[in-house]
Structure formats: C-alpha cells, structure tokens
Symmetry: C2
Subunit: 457 residues, 2 copies
C-alpha cells in the first residue's frame, strides 16, 4: 500500500466531486418509462468513467431492459479476481416539493452532498471507479484483478440481470463479489453486512361497481371499494404488529441466542431511532428489538394506497376502484414465490362482499446470508479498521439486493457487502445525501482493501 495513492485522492478531491456532480445530474430513474433515455445516458457515463480509470474491455451490454456496464483489468496473474457490482439507476423523486434543493442538481452543504443517488448507489459506484483509478495512476498496476458489473435496474428489482449473469458466466467469473450498497453502523462506525433480506412485491386492485357512484344516491346500498380494500389490508397485521397471513413465519430461521447477543452488543438503537424519525414510539413485531426486527424478521409493508378523490375538500363519491401496493422483506429461509402464494391465498380468502379483487405479482428476491468467517470478509473488516481506527461491526441488513442471491446461486461466489452509506441519508426519500467524510475515508478503505485482499485469498 502506497502513501501516494492517498495523496492522489486528496489532491484530486475537487475534480472527483465535480465529476460525481455530473453523474448525479442524470435522472436515471429506472422505474419510470419516460426516463429510459436518461438511464441509458447514465450507463454510457459509467462506461466512460471506467475507461478513463484504466479499465479495459469496457462495454455497455444491451438487455431487454436497461443496459449493463462491464469493464475489467486482469493483468495480475495468480492474484484473486474481484467482481465489483453496483447500480447506476435511482429511485423516483416524488414528492418533489419536499426536496430542499433539486434532486438532480447535487448540492454540497454541511460536508454532505445532496442529490438522488448520492448514497444509493451512484456515489458508491463512483468511489469504486476512483479507487482503482487512484491506484493505477500512482502505481501503474492493481493488487488484484477487477471486473466491474454495474447495472441499471436495481431499483426495480434487477429483472434482467440474472439472465445476463446466466449468459455471461465466464465473463463474470471471479473469486469474490464486492458490493457497496449498504450502510455503516453510524457516523465513524464501519460495518460489514453479512446478510440481506429478500423481497416479494404485489399489488391489490379492488373493483366494486362499474362506475364511481354518487354517495347520496347509492351510499349504504353498495360496497365501497375503499372499505373493501381497507378490510383486506387491515387483515394483514395484528394491531401490535404481527403479520397474520397464515404460514408467513413458517420458514423463518429463528434468531439464535448467539445472534441475539451479538446484536445486543452492537447497542440498542430504539431511542436513537425514535429521535431520528421524530416518533413518540416505535412499532413492530412483539418480542424483538428494532435491530432484530430489521435484521432477522420479515415484514409486510403497504408502500402505497389509493382510491377515489384526492383533491382539496370533499367529493361525495363511492369510488369504483381502489388499490394497494405491498412489499414484504424476507429472511432466510423464506422463499419469495412461496410467500407470494401465501399472500395471494390470504387476499382471495378475505375478499369482502360485493367487490372483485385482482392480485398482481411484482419483484421477488431471495434473502441471503454470507459466511462471516470468509477471508474476504475478514480482510474487508481489517481495511475498515485501518482507516476508521475503530472495530468493524458485523451486521445483517434489512434491505434487499435481490441480485446478491442471484449471484450466489448463479456464480457460487461469496459476497462482501462493504457499504459507506448512513441510514439517515434518506435513500428512496426526499433530500437523499451522502456524507463526504465517508466519501473520503471510503476511498481510502477500498484502496486498502484491495491490498489486504491480495494477501488473503
């Protein structure tokens, strides 16, 4: 490891932040068809950045959906090969009026950079690119071999990447996958996430009468689609927060006393969470701490609900249609397809009188746990400790990166989730931002890691 690398990072900091600002300016919202061209532009931008950093065989692979960007550097014979995965697509930005500065005009204030994608995940993809650039420019080589696979559909559940991986197993063959798309424990507290929750999404559409109706003429005589939807949605949980869908918890790997102790040792986050979120009390499955609930317990969340009149004042209407969007977070050994089945059965078994119901299935992703003792994970822990000067926490993650499980199944590789985000950074919400402290230290950590890894695998 070479001091010149850190000097390079320090002296190029302004230039790097200017480049990142341009990257963040591309509104690559993968879920909205009107941003298709923007997603493509972000792919091209990523490819160009990889090329400029010294990667070879850089290519934008077209898929049925948004493109995958690939680039490699394979000149270190006998050394391990790292597959760096990330995503250049971002979440939608609504409600726009809650952003203090425009989501696609990065704004640096108070040592943070504010923009959609700053933390999740363009900012962290950018760091990976700049880390290899720094090492190559200062030393003329890299300590390990690299393959970059940066996709554009992570925020919509990576629908086409598994097929891409399947068809390009040789291209993507490596010894370890490294992903920076998770969070740290808190400011100054590095963490390696060794498990992720899975995902299962669906939508319920309720239809009552064949038209919106005047509530005076028909009110009381006909089922209201909102009432029916609410009845279904309310049947999902007990008031104290347990999921009531039959069989939902059947495959859940129960928390062990070792895990419980390890999580407790990470500290109680309940009070901190309450203050951070501005709520008087937390709410969730009884018998578990907030950390346990987000690490090792599954959830069923309604992400959106709509039906009838939403304008100002009132409209005396009985709406014909009402809908709810739902995602479950899953833990080992829940199977997304099986959970989708259980939910669908539950919904159809609870259809109120006088309406018809349709269930549409959306994204699914398997939960995943990595072996904590894997040398690639331990090397990552040492890299963090060298830069942050505190012990690395080994955690589980509440979020889902469906592709992690797919990589596991398709390539059979260990995955190191080495994130630099903070949970307060409003991913998926207005005013997303990224702490520049972790931009700087993260770059140094990544550079350190590649040298640690060269000696570990």
């Amino acid at each position: 490891m070479n001091k010149e690398i850190f000097d390079y990072l320090a002296s190029n900091r302004s230039k790097h932040l200017e480049e990142l600002t341009k990257y963040l300016a591309i509104p690559s919202i993968s879920s909205l068809p009107e941003h298709k061209q923007d997603v493509k532009s972000a792919a091209k931008w990523t490819a160009k950045a990889l090329q400029d950093a010294g990667m070879e065989n850089v290519k934008v692979y077209e898929t049925k959906g948004h493109p995958v960007v690939y680039g490699d550097w394979l000149k270190q014979e006998g050394k391990p090969t790292v597959l760096v995965y990330g995503h250049y697509d971002v979440q939608p930005v609504d409600p726009l009026e809650l952003w203090d500065t425009p989501p696609f005009e990065a704004n640096i204030r108070d040592h943070k950079i504010y923009a959609r994608g700053a933390s999740d995940d363009k900012g962290q993809v950018f760091m990976h690119i700049k880390a290899v650039e720094a090492i190559l420019r200062t030393t003329g080589s890299l300590p390990v071999n690299f393959k970059f696979c940066i996709e554009g559909e992570e925020e919509i559940g990576s629908p086409t990447l598994p097929q891409f991986v399947e068809e390009n197993k040789k291209l993507l063959a490596a010894d370890v996958i490294v992903i920076s798309d998770t969070g740290m424990q808190g400011p100054g507290k590095p963490a390696i996430c060794y498990g992720l929750r899975g995902l299962c999404g669906l939508q319920i559409d309720v239809t009552g009468a064949n038209s919106d109706l005047h509530s005076g003429l028909y009110g009381g005589a006909v089922q209201n689609s909102i009432h029916a939807l609410v009845e279904i949605v309310n049947s999902f949980h007990s008031p104290d927060g347990k999921v009531l869908v039959e069989g939902f918890y059947d495959s859940v790997q129960e928390i062990t006393s070792e895990e419980r102790e390890a999580f407790a040792a990470l500290g109680d986050i309940d009070e901190e969470l309450k203050e951070q979120l501005g709520v008087s009390e937390l709410h969730g499955e009884p018998g578990f701490t907030a950390r346990e609930r987000t690490y090792v317990r599954p959830t069923l969340e309604v992400n959106g609900i709509y039906g009838g009149f939403q304008g100002e004042g009132i409209k005396t209407v009985i709406p014909a249609k009402a809908s709810a969007k739902i995602t479950c977070r899953l833990v080992p050994n829940q199977d997304p397809a099986e959970i989708a089945d259980l939910l669908t059965k539950h919904i159809y078994a609870n259809v109120p009188a006088g309406v018809t119901v349709n269930v549409s299935l959306f994204d699914q992703g398997h939960p995943y746990v990595t072996p904590l003792e894997h040398p690639a994970i331990q090397a990552a822990g040492r890299a963090y400790e060298a830069i942050y000067k505190v012990p690395t926490a080994y955690t589980r993650g509440g979020g889902s990166i469906p592709i992690v499980a797919a990589f596991d199944q398709l390539l059979g590789l260990p995955v190191v989730l080495m994130g630099f985000g903070l949970s307060t950074e409003n991913f998926h919400a207005p005013n997303e931002h990224f702490h520049l402290e972790n931009f700087d230290k993260g770059l140094e950590t990544l550079c350190t890691y590649w040298y640690e890894l060269a000696e570990s695998l």
Copy 2:
C-alpha cells in the same frame, strides 16, 4: 294552460339544446380553485339567460365564495310566489380518461345529452329558465310570481348561501321553494322526493415518521402511516356493513311500519341495482332493503384514500403520511355537528401506536323531511301525472342538498323537490348525462305545475 306553450317548446327545441350546450361548456367546478373564473362565467351566463327569459331585477350577487344569481318576476298580485333554487356549479371530472366524450363538450347520442352538469344541475336549472320563457313569450304573463336563486357552491356544500339567505330574507320571501336537483323513480316514472339525507364531511391525516423511509432499513421497526390509517378506517364498519362509531345511530328516527310498507310498494330495487352497477351482490346495513338503506338510514363512506407510492410497479417506501376523506349521509334527527363530534372522538380514541392523527371537518348539512300532504307537493304530483300519464311516486332521497334544510330553518318555507334526473345518469362520475325525454316532458311538467300551483296555494 295553453297549447301554444308546448308548441313553443317543441319548435324551439334545437335552439334550446344549442344554448344548453354552451352552458355545459363552462367548466364551473366549484371545488377547484383554478376554476374560479369559470364558475364566475357560469354565473354570468345564468344571469343573462334569466334576463333573456324575461326575468327582472336580475343580478349576480358577489359572496365570500362563488356568486349567487338572482332574478324575479312579481307581476301577478294575489298569486303565490315560487322561489326556484338550483345550482350552476358542477363536480370535478376526474378520472378524465373514463369519459367517452370530453366532459365539457356536450354530446348528444342515443337521446341523451352527455356532459358534466347535464343532469346535476345545469340541465335542470336551464329547464326552469326555459319554462318561464316559454310561458311569457306565448301568453305575455306568468300564472304565479317567480324568484330565482341559483347558486355556485352546491357541490361544495353551499358554505356561503345560508349567510346570503339570512341577509336577504326579504328579497327571497316566497310561499314555496321548488328545486329540481333530485331524481325520478326510473324511466317514465315521476317522483317527488319529500325527504333528503344530511351530510357531514371530514378528513383524516395520519403522520408517522418525519420523512418517507426505506422499507428495507426501517421496515418492521416503525409504524407505517398507511397501516395506521387502514386500522382507523377499518374500525368504522363491521364487516357486514354496520357503522361502529359509538352513538352514530342514537338519534336516528327509526323507520315506521307505514314507511316500510310504502317503500315496499315502490318495488324492490335490489336486483335492478345489482345489474345496473355490475356487482354480484349489494352490501349495506343488515336488516334493511337497498331502498331503505338509501332513504332512511345513515351511512359513513370513505370517498378517497391516499398515501405513499401510486406509480407503476413498486417503490419500497414506508410513507410518512396517509389520508382519507369521509362523508356521512345523515337522516332525521341526526345533527351533523354532533355526528362530526362522535366521529372525531372515535378517531382520536383509535389512534394506533407510533403515529399522530389530525381530523379536519368539512361540509355539514341537516337532513330534511317535508310534509307530504302540502298542497304545493300535491299540485306537483298532479302536474307530473298530466304529462307522464302514470301515478307520481312519493319518495325519500339519499342525497343531500344542505341548503334545503337551511331554507327551511331561515325562511320557514315548504320545499318541493321536483327532479327530472335518473339515478343511472352518472352524476359525480364520468359520462354524466341527461335523458332528453325528461328534458322535453320535464319542461311541459314545469309549465303545467305553475298553472296547477296558481290554483292550489
């Protein structure tokens, strides 16, 4: 009564429909601030039409809200004075994509005129204007005296009209109020509605965390505002359709066996309703027929619900806010303010853990029942029978015209609800329309009524 009047109506039919088309072209949506000028234009149009019909002292009275249009003809000394009330404002038109032709471009097809306001209530206001015009142009006089009071805020609960009436008691003094804003029993079946339900509207706003949250990072640990809202909304009804708000039914005047028999004699509408609305079963308070539920039983309907993501696909968010819009239909002797209190108490008593809730009160209107045996009502029944050649049905109405109760309280006048709409005409919904058969017969009925009334009061 003069055959020339009917000839006049017949020979001017095309001209009248052209005029009505212009009236319906004005998007006078009183609930949407962006249509304020359109509402004003509709007021001016109404005033001009009254003037052209031969009314005198025509004036557009400004109010704190939308204007009131007045005009009179008081040359028949010794004869009763009729106050004709109606409204020139209309409901919003969303969802726009469900309209077969644009809502503000009247389209005549299959003997119906399609447009927002065609039936509720511009079409019927227009008929009243054309009826007096027809009599005046053919006979040079009118059988009774007239005062027109046409407002622009009926669809938002007539917030300023009571004050206008209070301040203009002398101007509006009359012997009877006639309103055409209710429906007939069915095609060819005239009806006089002798009672209306009242109204009580409110909105529930639920707030959880101080920002939308990533469902992976926080899912399971914090209350979801949609779950909390759904829990509250679901507490309003039993699954079989009874309102569970404590005290809600306490003041309800129970249906008498006479009423029950009278309603039964009007025929069972359940099967007809099911077919018309395209539902496999009706749904409502147990122990009552659909007719009884809409005539004499109160309701609580959610008119709109919204929170979180509404776009295509999924967004893994825990929304910070969720809202529901609610209106109750009230029957004698429920008091809107008291019901609002009961609902508010119920909501605040059922706030789930981890959220705050705010209740905003909206429109309120008293329920109203007129004395069925009043000569003005009986004369209206005879006028219908003379034109439609079938017995007139005496019904109760499920809708609310809050101003009816206000007129009763402020002016102490009997109210004759003489409507020409049909319940299938999609008031408040896409593809609102009005049957031209009832436009033609309705005009003749009104003309006949004024001569009947001249002899009855």
